[in-house]
Symmetry: C2
Subunit: 163 residues, 2 copies
C-alpha cells in the first residue's frame, strides 16, 4: 500500500507556507523552485489543498498561495485527506455475499467483521494523523533542522517575497 | 490510498481455511469457487500467503491449501504484509535535500520530522492490525454471521473435502 508522492510535497509546502512573513504569498512557480519538483504536478496538489481550505490564493502583484487557516488548525490528516481522499484504504467488495454460501440480503445488514476490524485499524492511523498539526511540525523543524538550512530558507523567502 | 483488493480475498480465505476439518485442505479451484473470484488472481495471492508461511500446501489426492500455523498465531498484520509488502505506506523521497535551501549530507542524518510523524501514525495502524487474529475473526463470525450462511458453508466444506 502506497500513498501518493504528492503527500510529501503537500506537507512540505504547508510547513513552508506556515513560515511565510505575514501578508506575503508564494506563487506555484516559487513553491516548485524551493522544493525542486515539477510545477504542473505541484499545481495539481495545491489545487487539492485549496479545495480543502488548507491553502488559499491571493491575486495581484505579490499574489500566490498562503495558508487558508492558522497552522495550528491544519493537521496531517487534513493534508492526507485533501490529497488522497477520505475513502477507506481497505475496500470491502462484499465478497461474503458471493459463492455457494450466500444467503438473502437481509443477512448482511451489519458490515462484515473483517471489514470492521480493518477500518478500526485505519481509524487508529487517522487519529494519530489528526494529532499532528503543521504548527507542531514547524516548531519541531525549528529545533531540529540544520541552522544553515534554516538560514538559507529564510534568505530565499526574503528574496522571493521581496522582504 | 488504496489497499489491494487481494487483502479482502486473502483474509476471507484464511478464515475459511481456519474452519477446515482437521487433516483436510482446499485446492485453489475450490477456494475460488467458494469466494466466486478469478482463480488465477487468487492463486497469486495464495502464493504470497504461502511465502509468508500463513498457508501451506499439501500434495496428493485431497491436497491443497491449509493454514501454515494455528489461526491464533496469524494476525491481520501478517496477512496485509504478505499481500502488500512491509514497505511504509508513506514514501519519503528526501525532498528536504533539494532546492535552494539544501545543505551538506551530514545535516540529514536523522529522518525528516514529517516522515517520522507519518511513520509513527502508520505504526499505530500496524499495532491495531497485529491485535486481531484469524482465530478471533472466526470466533466473531460464528457469533454474527447468519446461521443459514454458516450452515451452507459447512455443508459446502463437507461436500468439497469429502467429509
Ligand atoms: S465481505 Fe468484505 S471484508 Fe468481509
Ligand atoms: S524529506 Fe521526506 S518527508 Fe520530509
Amino acid at each position: 500500500m502506497k500513498m501518493s508522492e504528492g503527500i510529501e510535497w503537500a506537507i512540505h509546502c504547508c510547513t513552508l507556507l506556515a513560515a511565510l512573513p505575514e501578508g506575503t504569498a508564494l506563487p506555484v512557480g516559487r513553491l516548485s523552485e524551493f522544493h525542486d519538483v515539477p510545477k504542473d504536478y505541484l499545481a495539481k496538489h495545491l489545487q487539492s489543498l485549496s479545495r480543502a481550505g488548507i491553502v488559499q490564493t491571493t491575486r495581484g502583484p505579490g499574489g500566490g498561495y498562503r495558508l487558508g487557516r492558522p497552522a495550528e488548525r491544519i493537521t496531517l490528516l487534513d493534508v492526507v485527506e485533501a490529497i488522497d481522499g477520505k475513502d477507506p484504504c481497505f475496500q470491502c467488495t462484499e465478497i461474503r455475499r458471493r459463492g455457494p454460501s450466500a444467503v438473502g440480503a437481509a443477512a448482511y445488514k451489519k458490515p462484515c467483521g473483517i471489514a470492521r476490524a480493518m477500518w478500526s485499524a485505519e481509524a487508529a492511523w487517522r487519529r494519530e494523523l489528526q494529532k499532528v498539526t503543521i504548527a507542531a511540525l514547524v516548531a519541531q523543524a525549528a529545533e531540529e533542522v540544520d541552522p544553515k538550512q534554516i538560514e538559507k530558507s529564510i534568505s530565499w523567502l526574503e528574496r522571493t517575497t521581496g522582504g
